[in-house]
Symmetry: C2
Subunit: 313 residues, 2 copies
């Protein structure tokens, strides 16, 4: 144990971010994982990302719920209980002093305790967390003009092979799609499944707007917390919304498209493949939802104030 929180804080050490690793708090440069950890060599790890805005976590309980479910589904059980994990997240942010932050938590399989064992149940699972300055999936400039979205030729890994509601780092297919997109000069990418149904992109859910109606894929994608927020905002704003199968053709023929992610919120798209939508600018409904999303943040919607006092025990 190397619990820096019990010592006087040394904020300069944590300016680039603060992490919890191997039972103690460390600067980001020391937030590492062994190259022998199955969390790395088998990508046998689950994670979650929650953001802090105006000094408050957004939907912290929802993120902890999802993270707990992901860990249970992968049979990952670190020594820290939920209350302790929550405290650690507060403490990471508190050590940085950040009012806006990207906060990640993960649980990795670890290595077998018993020499030579290949048993998953013999591994010491371990929890890590970190808070770093805010990251956007699309830069603020790109969000302003509307993102340019490429539709990948590579099919998303099927739900049958790996449950996409378990937040995971197995991004090989997404990275291949991103290579295609960046080769073509696009900002990011979305993947369809083998049947041609829309799924998700690297780190975000996708929404399509057609004739005033909003829809997002029912399968092949993460149960996004921002997606959940968008659906709640639609209900508040009286906008019809559905979670359903979306054929690629509907994406290509949409009136508007936007992305939803913790790392950026509601992000309007102005181009899908070769098609330019709405005068090459973010569409009205996407912009309305984006504004509502950030306005609600400023009002303290689903906000849990960060316990900054934890940096000063």
């Amino acid at each position: 144990m190397n619990d820096v929180s019990l010592a006087p804080p040394d904020n300069a050490r944590f300016a680039g971010g603060a992490a919890y690793a191997r039972g103690g708090f460390v600067p980001m440069a020391e937030a590492t994982i062994s190259v022998l950890d199955w969390g790395f060599t088998r990508s046998d790890v689950t994670y979650d990302v929650v953001h802090v805005r105006h000094g408050g976590f957004f939907r912290l309980e929802d993120h902890l719920d999802r993270f707990s479910t992901s860990m249970r589904k992968r049979r990952l059980a670190p020594p820290e209980d939920r209350a302790r994990m929550e405290e650690i997240l507060h403490q990471c942010v508190a050590l940085t002093g950040l009012r806006d932050a990207y906060v990640a938590m993960l649980c990795a399989r670890g290595r077998p305790r018993v020499g030579g064992s290949r048993k998953l149940s013999d591994c010491d699972n371990h929890f890590m967390a970190y808070a770093i300055p805010w990251i956007d999936v699309l830069t603020p400039e790109v969000q302003e003009r509307g993102g340019h979205l490429w539709i990948a030729s590579v099919p998303r890994i099927p739900d049958a092979s790996f449950d996409p509601t378990i937040k995971n780092y197995m991004w090989g297919d997404l990275t291949t799609g991103l290579m295609e997109a960046q080769d073509e000069g696009y900002d990011t990418v979305v993947l369809c499944d083998a049947a041609g149904l829309l799924t998700e992109g690297p780190g975000f859910n996708v929404f399509v707007v057609k004739d005033g109606r909003v829809s997002t894929p029912a399968h092949g994608s993460l149960g996004g917390i921002t997606k959940k927020s968008v659906l709640e905002l639609c209900a508040m704003e009286g906008i019809p919304a559905a979670v359903e199968d979306i054929p690629r053709a509907l994406l290509e023929d949409a009136d508007e498209v936007f992305l939803a992610t913790t790392a950026g919120g509601v992000m309007p798209i102005s181009r899908v493949g070769k098609r330019i939508m709405g005068n090459d600018r973010p569409g009205p409904l996407s912009s309305r939802l984006k504004d509502a999303y950030w306005r609600k943040h400023a009002e303290g919607w689903h906000s849990t104030p960060v316990r900054y006092e934890l940096a000063m025990p």
Copy 2:
């Protein structure tokens, strides 16, 4: 640079293994990767494993060829060239002094050089390597009695979503299969694709023997170096062998089954699912190939002597 090879060796530090990381040689405990590296957070990394037996690398050039191809396909380009990588592998083994070793190399995407960039081409790719004491996928005791192989219900990630000839850490489907196998009391697992064709298991290729003929899957699996060796041994021994599609039913009805991997060589199987083969012992043809594989090792087949002098510059 922290090139320990230029200092007098300190073998005690490297007893548990020696690694090359961030341009220098370090003990295994310091062989870590940042939790922010896309090699971890996107499993955007490729690797290879070569073994050392009797003080010599086995098929080192073949492993370096495959690793180079994997890196090229994923557009990973570390600063070290092939000659330097090869020297580093020698140096890692030399520092440990091991005569039998498991030697891994990997190249990870790294992080964008430019703050806020999401571009793959903006990342500093980095090469790592390590040598540790020999690891078997199946323990020697299990290899002796014949492994018990479970057939997973989860389908292998399709080739279309991620090319399985690029050696990768995206083992989520394999891990799910391994959970099923270990729940049922089996040693390891093999996966079929969605069409019910045999693919591979966690870290190995699979061979089926039927009526004196050996076969291994044509798709859905790594181009294994041990698989290549087995096919060469079959040719030498006059055993008919084929690379072809293998339906699950053929696996279940096989006379013999064996696995092929760097981390264990030719490993006979005595049970496939509920079926017990050949009096619950390794089959004659599997045993013959296993013996030939190790006999050829002792004869120096495809062996490159480790340059142990690199530990003593």
